[in-house]
């Protein structure tokens, strides 16, 4: 009997000891591992095609770029990455523009079996200018399906390269069967991408397009070794290149299980690790920043000037549900988190962190995302669009005056957002904090007057004698979605206009927009790079959705706007460019193809043990600048996560207490 009791006691002791909510192996506690989570795995990690935030979280860290953004300075500033310096535009007599990049010496790829294709026993090799050219050709390759063909079409011969590649493949199956790199050479490459030696690369643009440099700060233009593309072809058990990055950056992808986790490890071959003596700007923590950075602890002497990266490993764990993910953050198992709607009121009080959060040592970082959300009018529509002439313009102006974006933000996003006065978000060149759009404040009196001038007194359509009927097409059929969009419908109802909400699913909505079968619609745009061109092109007539399937969903077309846009697009930031931006803004202010709503604001939470964190609105790699204190983290986690065992004993006791009298009586009666 004693042995039984001892056995049970030992088993119970073991079970209690095994009780732990720590999702990580105990051995990892003291390591500099950053834990974060993701909801949906990236669809591809091919740098030529990956275009989502979740993909850039990986590609941005494993693929280094020729240029990058200064980590702290705002407005955004380009600094050299793999390139020795940021090139200057060199205008040519024929109107073309040349950019000359020079790569740093002694740059190596990560170790990878693919490099054996280039020579027996090779495990890595030098990064050369031809690798960047190779990646630009991949973007132009129709079979790669890159979503960013458009901006690179400014390069001389880019379109011609794509076309001749497609034609040769179609005409000659033997050519199509060759490895891609041989096919690219077979059609002579891209005329405007000239490799001038191992480290020199010239890019020739047919027309001035200064924004091209921003594209060299994105993973699309990272050097890609031909060996990796040839080797990782999805055959004989090898993964596809889209699932197997071959890195040039500060981290390498160590484990990639899309459904469960993605693990990055520091790359020992990265130039920052091999050559800390260079003090290269992309491999050293910066010593100067923007206003407020010193107060936020970002200019900490313990960080400034130190070689990057600080972390040994980054683990992305999949969390499909937001509540468990946030709970793990509160338990200290994730180092950073957003704020979920369900917990907003317990985390934020009066726009500040709640005392409970402050007690946990949590920090809050707010940042405006370089994006704009708006309501658009279909300018091809006979009632609200350009065919309606002056009447329709006044109708749009009146409808704009009825929308209170600030109230909408307060009701639906806990105030997370900045009401928009124009389409440019804060932090971009041309943004003017003092600008007030006369049609972006609520003024129902003026709105009614404008409606009357438009021929719709009190919102009544004189042709029918009834309130003017319009449709508002939305891509969300959920109850919450309908509630959000009904806010606008109700606002217009105050003017007497009868706007019908047509909620369809996303696919049907897309179809309607493609076919031009809509009047009013909600939309948003997140910047690819911090330049006003990336916002104003959304209203350029060449980008019209129904005609050219472009992102100009309002189908806005105005010769004066187009002319100024093209002039602005071709200029670097100067007073003339600013003037053009202001003139375009004035056109949009009057024409009202959009009702600008807001620029969303991101509230991010960080634990006290994480340092060097500055939210980056533009999707760029920032993990190399982050540092953490594992000892402090382990201490806090242990204090916050002691299991509560007594309810298990109480429950067992209760069950025995309820059943025991019955059992005893039963056997007594039997006897």
């Amino acid at each position: 009997m004693d042995a039984w009791v001892r056995g049970w006691a030992a088993a119970l002791g073991l079970a209690v000891a095994a009780c732990s909510n720590n999702p990580y192996p105990d051995a990892d506690t003291s390591r500099k591992i950053l834990y974060t989570n993701y909801n949906e795995a990236p669809r591809t990690l091919d740098p030529a095609t990956a275009y989502t935030t979740s993909a850039h979280a990986i590609t941005g860290n494993v693929y280094d770029t020729l240029l990058e953004y200064h980590y702290l300075k705002r407005p955004y500033e380009l600094i050299p990455g793999l390139a020795e310096e940021v090139p200057r535009a060199e205008p040519q007599p024929d109107g073309s523009v040349v950019y000359r990049f020079r790569l740093r010496p002694d740059l190596l790829y990560q170790d990878d079996p693919a490099f054996a294709l280039g020579g027996e026993g090779r495990s890595t090799r030098q990064i050369v200018a031809a690798d960047v050219a190779h990646e630009l050709m991949r973007i132009g390759d129709p079979a790669v399906n890159s979503p960013v063909i458009e901006p690179f079409s400014n390069i001389v011969g880019f379109r011609a390269f794509s076309q001749s590649l497609a034609e040769r493949r179609e005409a000659d199956p033997a050519f199509a069967a060759k490895p891609p790199v041989e096919q690219y050479a077979g059609v002579g490459g891209i005329e405007g991408v000239r490799v001038r030696g191992e480290r020199e690369l010239e890019i020739v643009l047919a027309n001035p397009y200064p924004q091209i440099l921003y594209w060299f700060a994105m993973p699309f233009t990272t050097p890609v070794p031909w060996e990796a593309v040839a080797y990782y072809d999805g055959e004989e058990g090898r993964p596809h290149f889209s699932d197997r990055p071959v890195a040039s950056g500060p981290f390498v992808l160590e484990e990639y299980h899309k459904q469960a986790r993605m693990v990055l490890e520091a790359n020992p071959n990265w130039y920052g690790v091999r050559h800390p003596e260079w003090q290269a700007p992309g491999a050293t923590y910066p010593s100067e920043g923007a206003e407020g950075d010193a107060e936020a602890g970002l200019l900490d002497p313990a960080l400034m000037g130190r070689p990057l990266p600080f972390l040994e490993r980054i683990e992305f764990r999949r969390e499909k549900e937001s509540i468990p993910a946030f709970q793990k953050f509160l338990q200290g198992y994730y180092d950073a988190s957003g704020i979920i709607r369900e917990s907003f009121d317990t985390v934020i009080r009066e726009d500040r962190l709640s005392p409970e959060m402050e007690e946990l040592g949590v920090r809050l970082e707010k940042s405006v995302i370089p994006a704009v959300y708006y309501l658009g009018f279909n300018m091809d529509d006979p009632v609200v669009g350009r065919a309606g002439g002056e009447r329709a313009r006044k109708l749009r102006q009146a409808m704009s005056l009825a929308i209170d974006a600030e109230e909408w933000l307060r009701l639906f996003t806990n105030g997370r957002g900045v009401p928009a006065q124009s389409l440019l978000p804060p932090g971009l060149y041309g943004y003017d904090a003092d600008y007030e759009n006369p049609y972006r404040r609520v003024d129902l009196e003026r709105a009614r007057a404008l409606l009357a001038e438009a021929g719709f007194p009190d919102g009544i359509d004189p042709q029918t004698g009834k309130p003017l009927q319009l449709t508002f097409d939305t891509p969300d059929t959920s109850a919450q979605g309908k509630l959000r969009y009904s806010f606008y419908v109700n606002a217009w109802r105050k003017l007497g206009i009868d706007v019908r909400l047509e909620a369809t699913n996303y696919n049907q909505f897309q179809e309607k927009v493609r076919n031009g079968a809509y009047q009013i619609f909600p939309w948003g745009w997140v910047a690819d790079y911090p330049d006003p061109e990336n916002f104003y092109f959304l209203l350029w007539s060449e980008m019209a959705r129904t005609r050219n399937q472009g992102p100009n969903t309002a189908n806005f077309s105005d010769p004066g706007f187009d002319e100024r846009f093209l002039a602005m697009k071709a200029r670097e930031n100067d007073p003339e460019r600013l003037r053009l931006i202001q003139e375009m803004r004035a056109i949009l202010e009057e024409e009202r193809p959009w009702i600008e709503l807001f620029h969303p604001e991101d509230y991010a939470l960080f634990h006290g043990w994480l340092r060097g964190v500055k939210p980056a609105g533009i999707s760029n790699p920032t993990s190399k600048y982050r540092d953490l204190a594992p000892a402090l983290r382990a201490e806090e986690r242990a204090a916050w996560n002691q299991p509560v065992i007594w309810p298990a004993f109480a429950l067992a006791f209760l069950a025995v207490a309820v059943a025991l009298p019955g059992v005893v009586t039963f056997f007594r009666e039997r006897q």
Partner: protein, 320 residues
């Protein structure tokens, strides 16, 4: 018996063909090939890129045979499924069989222990309440079972995550890691929750079966011969009650491989259930049809296996 199995399998083929047709019709009612491409490439993809993607993935063909008899998507859909050529995922071009291989481990890690624990707990508890039949233990037990059956599994999941993981901090709230030092922690909570949510129905069913057996003549005979109650329950009643229990259990076995849609989704377990949910959410037709096809096959295998096992354990049952 072989003739019977073959006949059932032939019916099964018809069912699978029907399921594949239904899936095809329903999927393309809701999403067009353009939508599938747009989901794979992202919102900012240009029309020419979308066209190219469709051509690369075979979505540029007409859907129906009457549009183009020799080259249409419906026939290609049947060809690829019936030859087990699952191809690559529409969402991210991963080879689907590779994804299935990755998912089956975590799914079995959850469903196998759940299957064993569910049956064991169900049988032990139902034997217990059947043993104390017509006492308050039996009545409280049945009442608790009905209560347990009436509550949605979603409530169990959320309640379990709140109470056991968040308040009591016994186990991680969600997640999965195949590392042997932590895998048990991740599986404990979904196991406890799934057993708790399923035990009510099981106990009621098994209890009824046991009670029916305890009223039979052979039990009275055994008792008259002086056999103890515990011996009667464990040796005689349990054995004879196994036949109806078997029908309930065998049909579930093939589905162990498919994982659990809800548990895997809520607990972030990267199994086959989770893959199916992702495929639905991501307009990933090629993965979804593979999962539905395998599900239909397993369903038929389960049905046939149940019939066969029934005949094997009960000689009175004949195939006809």
């Amino acid at each position: 018996m072989l003739a019977y199995v073959l006949r059932r399998a032939a019916y099964g083929v018809l069912v699978v063909l029907g399921v594949l047709l239904l899936l095809f019709v329903l999927f393309f009612q809701i999403a067009s090939p353009d939508d599938v491409a747009r989901r794979a490439l992202g919102e900012k993809a240009l029309p020419e890129v979308i066209e190219q993607w469709k051509a690369n993935h075979g979505y540029d063909r007409p859907l129906w045979p009457w549009q183009d008899f020799s080259n249409n998507m419906l026939f290609e859909h049947y060809r690829s499924m019936l030859t087990f050529d699952f191809g690559r995922s529409d969402a991210d071009d991963v080879v689907i069989t590779e994804r299935l291989r990755q998912g089956v481990g975590p799914s079995l890690a959850l469903t196998l222990p759940l299957f064993v624990a569910g049956i064991s707990v169900g049988i032990v508890l139902s034997l217990f309440v059947a043993f104390f039949r017509e006492t308050y233990i039996d009545r409280v037990g049945v009442w608790l079972c009905v209560l347990g059956m009436s509550v949605s599994i979603l409530l169990y999941i959320m309640g379990g995550q709140l109470v056991i993981a968040q308040w009591l901090r016994w186990f991680p709230i969600s997640g999965f890691d195949p590392d042997p030092s932590v895998v048990g922690r991740f599986l404990a909570l979904p196991l406890v929750i799934a057993v708790l949510s399923g035990v009510g129905g099981d106990v009621r069913f098994y209890r009824t079966v046991f009670l029916e057996e305890t009223n039979r003549d052979y039990v009275r005979t055994a008792r008259a011969k002086g056999a103890g109650e515990i011996r009667i329950m464990a040796r005689h009643v349990l054995r004879n009650a196994l036949i109806p229990i078997l029908t309930r259990v065998v049909v579930a076995i093939p589905f162990l491989f498919m994982g659990s849609l809800l548990l895997e989704s809520f607990f972030g377990i990267p199994g086959l259930g989770s893959i199916t949910v992702d495929a639905i959410n991501g307009n990933d037709f090629s993965t979804l049809r593979t999962m539905v096809f395998i599900g239909a096959l397993l369903f038929i295998v389960g049905q046939i296996a149940t019939d066969v096992s029934y005949a094997l354990v009960d000689p009175r049952v004949r195939f006809s």
